[in-house]
Symmetry: C2
Subunit: 303 residues, 2 copies
């Protein structure tokens, strides 16, 4: 598993180990080492082809969870984003081919790959015109996965994951508004918000994402790309209100200018995942938010 020390990786490692799988976990650092207990941890940089090849040798399934950039940072240096994400993924695909990996499961970006959507909720077949280099990189990697399957019979599945949230999301990399908002609210600090708060996203609880990843690892059938989201849209203002309600506090909001990287609305149509993966989101938003707050309280001040 590549990018195993991050938010999704940490949760996925734990689930796989609990299910009795042998997991090799590769990443730059472990945010929560105790969560990766039972994994074979390899410290390394995704941009280093040698350590990459070493990390996947004799693996059956490779989970590619690496995000070397964020939607906002990718636009600042698009060439760095291209190298860190796309070129490195090409090294990975070559290594997978050479070492006989059976399948790659790649986490793509349901929130950025479509750009400003023609259809809402957005199905996998919608047009893909990202307004951030981050989304273009994800799209290019998806296309290379298709190419490697065609040329080299390397099997793959792509999950276009909406905005995941839940325990072990730290908001340190400027990703994850729910983590960032809860963190500040618990610290009694005002929330910083880009734009007027009307931006709508599809928030999906991490346990549901992990379940989809595990299903994607063994899925049989012709579909390759699946949207993974709640299918429901929530505004930033709505998120703040939910947190305030849960914590029983007033949360002051400091408004910043809207960012061009933010599409106004992103809600995924997950009909295909239900049909082909027998997957559906099981965690209600408020329930996921409660679990997130409960976890964040346990680490408050430590991360």
């Amino acid at each position: 598993m590549l990018g195993a020390g991050g938010f999704i990786g940490t949760n996925l490692c734990r689930s796989l180990v609990m299910q009795g799988h042998t997991v090799r976990a590769f990443g730059r650092r472990q945010s929560f080492p105790e969560m990766l207990r039972g994994c074979d941890w390899i410290q390394g940089d995704f941009a280093d082809p040698a350590s990459l090849a070493n990390s996947i040798s004799s693996c059956d399934v490779v989970f590619h969870l690496v995000n070397a950039t964020t939607p906002a940072s990718a636009n600042v240096d698009k060439i760095a984003d291209l190298n860190a994400n796309v070129a490195s993924s090409l090294y990975l695909l070559d290594a997978c081919r050479e070492t006989g990996v059976n399948r790659i499961v790649f986490v793509s970006s349901g929130g950025t790959i479509y750009g400003i959507p023609d259809q809402v909720p957005t199905p996998e077949t919608a047009s893909t015109n990202p307004i951030t280099a981050y989304g273009i990189s994800k799209l290019a990697i998806e296309k290379y996965l298709g190419l490697y399957e065609y040329l080299h019979h390397l099997d793959y599945r792509v999950l276009r994951v909406a905005n995941p949230f839940g325990p072990y999301q730290t908001a340190l990399k400027n990703q994850g508004v729910i983590a960032a908002f809860v963190r500040r609210a618990l610290a009694g600090q005002p929330i910083e918000m880009w734009g007027d708060g009307s931006v709508i996203r599809d928030y999906i609880y991490i346990d549901d994402v992990v379940e989809a990843l595990i299903l994607a690892a063994t899925h049989q059938g012709p579909s390759r790309i699946f949207n993974i989201g709640s299918g429901e849209g929530r505004s930033l203002n709505n998120i703040v209100a939910s947190i305030a309600r849960l914590l029983e506090v007033d949360i002051p909001v400091e408004r910043r200018p809207a960012r061009p990287v933010d599409v106004p609305v992103s809600i995924l149509d997950t009909t295909l995942a239900l049909k082909d993966l027998a997957w559906q989101p099981n965690t209600q938003f408020e329930e996921g938010l409660r679990a997130t707050v409960a976890w964040m309280k346990t680490i408050q001040g430590n991360v």
Copy 2:
């Protein structure tokens, strides 16, 4: 104009100069220097950001005609293809932004960008799943053009050109089957053909491509991406038969194994170009082939 010394560039330079435009022509080498007379020629490498920026300063429209690879070579080293085409194009886009270029006209690949088509003839809205890294690079550049327009108001048009042919195509870079076939037939050599010759392509005469490029430079309207092809499909066997008929010779064919890079059929739907650019192909295939043969006879033995 970037890639001005190549096949399309040579023809486009000549037309623009004849129409009285001021043309700065940038490229690694001029295959036919006499055709670029009247242009301001700058020798340089597309992969060198400094010479690139210099080549476009004070230009109104930039034509991006560079192919640093071919469909077959791109698959051999996908990372080199990514760097040479996509990363270099990002440098170009940044340079265009900084120097205040008004519009980029980019030549994309109608023959590879769709992959194995769901629809034939294939419209611009069809899905894009290239089976060569060459097509993925072209697609990524198209997406970055969309991003730069969104973020930085850099105007652009994309022409997804089918298989162009005509005078000044030399077949030296292993591109252009008609040039390669005519050349060998005129030299009394057998034609080398990958596969059984049933592969169908859409061949478009260069004068029609040049006309579309010039129209794209000033087009007003919301469309950004246009297919440019004849709308007709011809098999390789059909091409050989046409050349044999024209030259009144028998042409022996040496068959090579089919290449995975070749989609079985590629025919473009050019309805949008007719509607929005008022463009349509004007040169009948046999007429274009005659002009190509006539030109090739004049340079026989010299290139």
